[in-house]
Amino acid sequence: MGEAVSRVALVTGGSRGIGRAIAELLASAGHSVAVNYVSNASAADDAVRVIEAAGGRALAVQGDVGDETAVATLIDQVQDQLGSVEILVNNAGITRDDLIMRMKPESWDEVLQTNLRSVYLCSKAVMRGMLRARWGRIISVSSVAGVYGNAGQANYSAAKAGIIGFTKGLAKEVGSRGITVNAVAPGFIATDMTAALGEDTTSAAVERITLGRLGTAREVATAVGYLASDDASYITGQTIVVDGGLAL
């Protein structure tokens, strides 16, 4: 392992679930972590408390990452209080599941805005600092829905597949400047989002998982932590699938 360097990280949607685990893991690796949230201030404050109690440095930053004004404001806030963002983790995501015949345009637009437009907006907003530093890590949380597709999630699957294409395109664009761009595609992970699926859906999913269980948020976070590290310096444009062997 390389020597630990302390950097500034931003985790969008970092107050709960996989984002929370990523924020805590990056903090434990010695990075200063901005924990972005949109509505749940108490969860974000709790994440900051937990990180600080463990001796880390963290900051809660409110803002809807699908909105460009909010993104500009929150990036400025992180810059002022922690410094230029060197590790961006695009994690914020929502679901608005429905069959295509019933899916309202708003459900399509909201999912694309929060899950994909946000990735473009945040990556653009941190790019200036990364170009100047000739170093940067952008890691976006995709999903197996974006790799294999999920019925009832055409919107979510499209947004998550969009992240994978974005990742490849941007990786080629900025690779010569020492910036790597990668994605992680989690399978069924035990979070609030999958708890909402119900027991039947979950047990049916588990039957298809080679490792025979749901994953934990931390098992996704460790993949993100690896991609954020100097050890992953020769990996770019890739999507690491963290799904317990779902596709085997």
């Binding site: 200036r128 664009e173 010569s176």
Partner: protein, 81 residues
């Protein structure tokens, strides 16, 4: 700021930030064709100009810059109105 001063500082930036050979740089030289600076390199140069001259170059104006002289002209306009 005098135009000659702007041009001299611009050449320094091209050498220091983009690693160009000083002898290759003329005011007529085109970034992409003559100096082999890629499109992202031009964006980076404009960022450096903004930082060093303390000016703001809007994207729509930045897109029109193709030569070293045009970059100097842009900075001159922003500084001297």
């Amino acid at each position: 700021m005098e135009r000659s001063e702007i041009e001299a500082k611009l050449v320094d930036l091209l050498v220091d930030e983009l690693g160009l050979e000083r002898d290759d740089i003329t005011m007529e030289a085109k970034f992409e064709e003559d100096l082999d600076v890629d499109s992202l390199g031009v964006v980076e140069l404009l960022m450096a100009l903004e930082d060093n001259f303390d000016v703001k170059i809007p994207d729509e104006e930045a897109e029109k810059i193709t030569t070293v002289g045009e970059a100097a002209e842009m900075v001159s306009q922003k500084l001297n109105g």
